[in-house]
Each structure stands twice: as structure tokens, then as C-alpha cells.
Symmetry: C2
Subunit: 481 residues, 2 copies
């Protein structure tokens, strides 16, 4: 066993020592992602992609249940189209990749690789929409987008990422608002119930909202290191794009009208959130509902008669319960190496079974979340594993919520807030005056930003602790990815 | 009824009069696709995208069953990486879109928008592969690709299209060959059993094979107008890319070795095949197994008591059988308009139900494929529809196969072949000498190309009818999309 141990010690940095390095170690050692030869572009490896497929599947189902249809719009957008909505182009132009040559020809007009698709979708919507009878338009697209970011980190901020972008048109502002909020709720539901990450819902400040939107709703999560991560956004675009792109229709009174628009998206960034909320110093921890493999079976002394048969029997009994299970019968690696490998990959539960276990009619189950081991009777495994997985799922959410709550504090004065931010210490609740100047100042002094004006407001006082003016809202403030 | 009729007559061109125009009319009127503001780029509309999702779902399942995993590689590829495999870059460089600017900076090296991903995947594989123990690599990617085509037509040839590309590495040439052929079989299976399109499997000639491959296998289908469509390809890449990209590993004898490689792909072009194989002068015809909606229920005199209730009852009974069903209870459109609309969209079966039907305890079923109507007892609908759909599925395949066989002829001399090709008449079987010069000449004289050297060879004679030299293989020849 000695040799095994030295073999399988994988040096991931302790998160307490260097969180950024810990993150980098985990994504590499858990084999989620790799760096590509193009700066800032990542390769999503099979294990990372399987997590994304599970996120996709659950979101897509909810989109369809709420009446949305998928379609696909072009990757390249003519420059003249991008520039029609003034705020939008100002926000995106600096981070756009431009195609200027096609085959051997230089193009007459530059084409931008979509950073988001409002502009080209608006162009098509203006062709498609004629009458109020056609409304609402409720379309979504699963796609890749490119944003020429200077500083990148896999999943969190990459020059190319995968996402979905929903784009809808409505007759009234109320309907558009309802749509934007419904989609925010779906994001919250999937992120909390599947990724086991507690989120705060709220509205972005004027300064932080989407370029071209009237209002941006957000879900914000807190990472292990006390930084926040914007995990999904939903925008009320009002009639801004409709006017810039001339989307009009005949309304119920036969008058020409502009529709009200929304857009909303989540990205592969969610995988980054999952890593930084649940991971620990032994590696990744994947919540069972989203895990590509929920249970791994590691047979001990495989060459002994009956061990592999019994392991296969357990595997099949779990498959019949709808559990995603893998049996590692590779003879090239030792059980110790395998234990380490599957802990690193964050497989929620591991079943060990050897000759002595079989004699005793039991197997050993290890939980990845708590590291607890227990013995279970063989004929009860298939019945008990589903409940165990649900318990792990629930436990991960509760643990993350407890940690977030512990890292949340009330900022009562600027000095105290500065000090805590200097140490990266968590999520501040504070009253705020609503003045963009004050917001700018907070950012300049602490590098923290207003994450959102939460839906659930609390009255913490009457004045803004940052500038002394009368308070307007309660906000959450933190450093963010 | 008069008014209705004039209202719902949709003028699609007869395919016998102008097949290209018929195609364009169908894709527009069935609402599959639209033209975008960027020349050659299409927008895939919800109905078209749903068909693609169904194709995807079935392929993806088979890929996973055969041990493949999905991953995701970057969209942009450095020029220096693209140019390493000589034949490959010669084949693709003329049709590549180049990114030369990122944000406000001019890039030091141009980046190409992937036309296919062998080059970047080889770069990563050379990083990942060390030992024979890791082999095989069996990865697939679902992605968009861009090829700067001059003449485009939606689904068939577009500047951007959606596809999957599988990329595998193997220890031996035999294993690589087996993989390439297994994937070709899966393509044949999905295209024949789900899209109901009969295909011929075979090998491409040297001239027609993939740029950089040793051997290209293909599935070829015959369209309604007598032209062929290459519908999927699978390549044996040998060690060509491995050598160019320095992919090496320690083999079983501890020697450095190059792996054998395959790649294989199908695209949104399959939707074009579906349209041109099954469509008719009333519009699209979608095979039930791939149809987004398999059955549509059109209630007659909806305002009469009980009609909508009964229609919903039928709907629910079909849902419980796993049928994809829609009930059109829109009051803005007449039943006549709806009949026409769903015929245009190619929904396999339509159920009509009105007050008199309910009195008689029956409903009317119309088949899209044969246009036959029949009366069915209400309580038998749920039991009989699944068999009806299977019958339609089978019927479409048989009809397409019969048509292809009727359009297939033996080319016994060059003059006769030229005459038939001048009239676009179908698919020729012929013996062939194997000389690229002769192949070139056939193309020059007739615009037809050798589609493949079929797996199932027939002996039609001893000489090549095109040049008189001794025959080497039997080939299929046709004009092609």
C-alpha cells in the first residue's frame, strides 16, 4: 500500500493557501478542461462537457415547458448591423473579434464574430414580425460566442464560451417583465436544485446592467473564497433595440407599434461556479443531480472469484433504478489510485466491494461530500442509493448556503467595509444611496462592485454608509469574478 | 368554403417545372429556414431546428453507445497550425474565413474560423497522448463550422453549417478502419431508419476523398430530381496528421509510434436531403420518427359543445402512447387553412374531429404520404396511431428506394451516358478503369462525378465504357449537390 500511496498523491494546492492555484489545479487534475494554442480559448474535455450537457438538458427542458423554441442564427454579424444600437455597440465593440477576409478576398465590410446575438436577431425579427397575432416571439439559441478578453480563466472568463441566449418579443412591457422574471426564476431553480448553489436574485445597478437594456436581473452566487460570481442574467430591453432595428407591427388597434423585448443567458461559467462552491482540498465535488457519474464501483481483489460478477450485479441493479453508475474494472490501476482519482473528479458516491465483503453480504459506501464511510447490505444497495444521493444533493446545498450566510455581513461604515474587502472577506449587505458616483467610488476604493439590488429588501438603516446621503435600496456588494 | 380555398392556396412551384424553385419555396413556406443579412449564412428557424434536434438526439445516442464522448474545441485556429498538413491546407485554405482583428488590435497571426477541426484537435491530441494504455481516443464534437462558399443554398451548401465531427486515434490501422466503417454504418442506420432515406455506402475515389485522408467512406443518396447528395462521410486519416502534428506514444514494445486516426461527420445538409427525397408538390413530408410533430389534431366547429373536449381527450391519449401530438385550437384560422398549413409542413398524420364525428363515435385520419383519408373509431385511435406512423415511416422508405432504383441505370457507353446526364436522369452504375484522368474527363463532359465505389460491387462488364481501358471497379456516377 505504501507504493500505491506515493503513486496517487496528487499535489493540488490547498485552497486556503492559494485559491486561484487551487482552482487551476482542480480543473486540470479533474480533467475538465485544457488550454488551447489560442490565448484565452479553452478546450472543454469530456468530463467537463458532460457536466455542461447535463446543465443544458435540464435548462432546455424548462425552456420548452415554458413555450420557447430553439433556433439558430449566423455566427458572423456585419459591422453596420452591430452598430445600430448605440449603447450596445459601445459595450461590445472593444471586445469583438473581426473577420476581414473570406478565402482569398478582403471583405468589403468587416464581420464580427457574435459576442451576443441581439443585433442579428433583431434584424430577422424585423423581417418576421407583422401583426400582434404573431406575438409573443419566444426563441432561444444554444451557441458559442467570442469576446476578446484580455485576462481569462477557464470557465470563468474565456475568449470563447458556450451558452444559451433567449430572445423574446412581447406586446406589453408587463408581459416582457414577466418573461424576464420567469426566466430568472428558471435559472435560480436549475442552479439551486441541480447545481446545489444558493443564489441571490436581484436587479443590476444602472452601471452594471447589460449594454442596451432598460433593466438587468441577475442571480449572484458566493464562491468559497468570498468572491461573488454573476451566474445568469435576464434583461428587459424595453423598445431600445426595436427602435434601433425597426421592429414594428400592427397592434390590436391597427396602429404601428414597437414590441417590448427581453434577452437572457447562462454560460459554461456555471461549471466554474460549481467548482468554486463545492470543491475542497481533495478536488472537485459534483452534486448528484448534475453528475455525469453518480456512483462509481471499485472492486477490490478483482481477480478473486465472484468479485467482478458481484460488482456487475450491483451495477445493473443501480442502472435499473436510473442511477448513472460506472464500474472501474481496469486492472492497470490499484484500488487506491482509483479512490484518489474519483475523489478528485468529485463522483458523489463510491462503492467498494471485495471478497470479504461478499462473504459478509455487504459493501462499503463512501460519500464524497462528508468523506463518511458506511457498510451496507448487498441486497439493500439499489434501494438505498437513490435516497443517499438525494441526501448528498441536499447536504451540498445546505452547506453552501450556510457558508454563504456565514460570509455575509452588514457594512455599517466605509472603513470597516474597506478592511474586510482588503482581506477578500465575503459578501456585504448595505444600504445605498443609488448614486452612480458613490458606486464608482466604492469600486475605486475596494475593487468591490454592487452585485445587485436584491429582490428581498431589508431595512438596515437610513443612510448610505459609503457617502452619508439618504439610502435608497439595500444592496449586496462583493469582489467578483 | 370557397373563400377558404382561395385563402389557403399557397403557390409553391411544381417540382417538375423547376426543382430548384420548388426547393426554395418549400423551405420558405414550411418555415424551416430564412436568409440572413450575411450572404450565404442561413437562419435555421424553429421547425427546421427541431428536425435537427431529433437527428442530433438519435446520432448522439448511438455515438455514446459505441463508446464516444463529446467535448468542445476552439472555434479559431492559428494559421500556422492549419498549414501543417499539406494536402489538408490546400483543400481548405481557399474557403476559410480569417479573423485578423481582436478588439482594437490587429493580430500578429491570422486565426481561421474552423472549416473542420482536425488541425486543432491534432494539436491537443499530441499534448494528451503518451502511452498505448490511453488508446483509443474516441471523441466527438457538436459545432458550427464556416466555409467561404461562393454559391450557396440553404441546408445543402452554406457558408456556416452545424454538424458533428468525430475524431479518433487507434493503435492499429485495422482498428482505425473498423472505427471508420462502424461510424459509416451508424450514419446509414440513422439516415435509413429515421430519415427514411435509402443510401449507398462506398468509398470515394482518390480525387473526391477528404483533403489529408487515406480513404474516405461515404453514404450517397439520390434526390427527387435525379441528383445525388453526399450525406455523410467517414475518413481513414492513416498517420498523415499524426506525423504532421507530431502525435506520438509509447507502444506495447516501449517504442515511439504514431497512432492511426479517423474522422467522420454529418451536417444540417441532412435536412436538405430529407426535403428533396420525400417532399412533393404539396410541400414537405417528414418521416414520423424524425418529425417534431407526428400527429396534428384539427377540430372542426370548435365552438360546438364537446368538440374541444374530445379533441383534448384524443391528444392526451396519444401523449400517453409517447406520440408527439399538437392540437390546433387557434380560432383565427379556418380548418381549411390549417389542413393546408400542416400539409405544407409535412406532419405525417392529421386527425379531424367535428360534432357529427363525435355523434358517430369516429374521427377522420389523413396520411400525409399517400393523401388517403380513413374513418377510425374514437376509442381505437390511441391504439392504432403508433402502427399507422410506423406504416408511414416504412412506406416513405420503400417509396424512396423504389424511386431510386427506377432512376438507376447501367451506363454501357459514353454517348448514352452523356445523353442521360444532359437530361439529369439519375444515377448511373458503370464499370470504371480507376484512372483519375478518365474521371476528370467524365466530369468535364457531363458535370457528373463518381459518387463512390460501392461496397456492394457488381460485375457489369470488363471494360471502362468511358475510355475503353480494362475496368477496375463498379462505380456510381451522378450529378451531385
Amino acid at each position: 500500500m505504501k507504493n500505491e500511496k506515493t503513486e496517487f498523491v496528487k499535489d493540488i494546492t490547498n485552497m486556503e493557501d492559494d485559491f486561484a492555484q487551487w482552482y487551476t489545479d482542480v480543473i486540470k487534475k479533474a480533467d475538465l478542461v485544457d488550454y488551447s494554442p489560442v490565448k484565452g480559448f479553452m478546450v472543454i474535455k469530456p468530463y467537463g462537457y458532460e457536466i455542461w450537457e447535463n446543465i443544458q438538458k435540464n435548462l432546455d427542458k424548462r425552456f420548452k415547458q415554458t413555450g420557447h423554441k430553439n433556433c439558430y442564427f449566423p455566427l458572423l454579424i456585419p459591422e453596420s448591423l452591430l452598430t445600430k444600437e448605440k449603447e450596445h455597440v459601445e459595450g461590445f465593440a472593444p471586445e469583438v473579434a473581426w473577420v476581414t477576409q473570406g478565402g482569398n478576398e478582403t471583405l468589403g465590410e468587416r464581420l464580427c464574430v457574435r459576442p451576443t446575438s441581439e443585433t442579428i436577431i433583431c434584424y430577422m425579427y424585423s423581417k418576421w414580425l407583422n401583426s400582434y397575432r404573431q406575438l409573443p416571439f419566444k426563441y432561444n439559441q444554444w451557441a458559442n460566442v467570442v469576446r476578446w478578453e484580455k485576462t481569462t480563466r477557464p470557465f470563468l472568463r474565456t475568449a470563447e464560451f458556450l451558452w444559451q441566449e433567449g430572445h423574446t418579443l412581447h406586446e406589453t412591457q408587463e408581459e416582457a417583465k414577466e418573461e424576464a422574471l420567469t426566466m430568472l426564476d428558471i435559472y435560480k431553480e436549475i442552479v439551486e436544485e441541480y447545481l446545489a448553489i444558493p443564489v441571490i436574485t436581484g436587479t443590476k445597478s444602472e452601471k452594471e446592467k447589460f449594454a442596451g437594456a432598460d433593466k438587468t436581473y441577475t442571480i449572484e452566487a458566493l464562491m468559497h473564497d468570498g468572491k461573488a460570481l454573476q451566474s445568469g442574467t435576464s434583461h428587459e430591453l424595453g423598445q431600445n433595440f426595436a427602435k434601433a432595428y425597426d421592429i414594428t407591427y400592427q397592434d390590436r388597434n391597427s396602429k404601428l407599434a414597437y414590441p417590448f423585448q427581453t434577452s437572457w443567458g447562462v454560460t459554461t461559467r456555471l461549471i466554474g461556479a460549481l467548482i468554486m462552491v463545492h470543491g475542497d482540498n481533495r478536488g472537485l465535488v459534483v452534486p448528484p443531480r448534475i453528475a455525469p457519474t453518480q456512483v462509481v464501483i471499485v472492486p477490490i481483489q478483482m481477480n478473486k472469484e465472484g468479485v467482478l460478477d458481484k460488482a456487475n450485479e450491483i451495477k445493473n441493479s443501480l442502472i435499473s433504478k436510473g442511477i448513472r453508475v460506472e464500474l472501474d474494472d481496469d486492472t492497470a490501476n490499484t484500488p487506491g489510485w482509483k479512490f484518489n482519482e474519483y475523489e478528485m473528479k468529485g463522483i458523489p458516491a463510491r462503492i467498494e466491494i471485495g471478497p470479504r465483503d461478499i462473504q459478509n453480504g455487504v459493501a462499503t459506501i463512501s460519500r464524497r461530500d462528508t468523506n463518511e464511510k458506511s457498510t451496507i447490505e448487498l441486497d439493500k444497495i439499489a434501494d438505498e442509493i437513490p435516497a443517499l444521493l438525494e441526501d448528498i444533493q441536499k447536504g451540498l446545498f445546505e452547506k453552501a448556503k450556510k457558508r454563504r450566510d456565514e460570509m455575509t455581513f452588514v457594512a455599517t461604515d466605509f472603513d470597516m467595509f474597506k478592511e474586510r474587502m482588503a482581506n477578500n472577506q465575503g459578501l456585504a449587505k448595505a444600504m445605498w444611496c443609488g448614486d452612480p458616483q458613490c458606486e464608482e467610488n466604492i469600486k475605486k476604493e475596494t475593487a468591490a462592485t454592487i452585485r445587485c439590488i436584491p429582490t428581498e429588501q431589508e431595512h438596515l438603516g437610513d443612510v448610505c454608509p459609503f457617502c452619508g446621503k439618504p439610502a435608497k435600496h439595500m444592496v449586496y456588494i462583493a469582489k467578483a469574478y
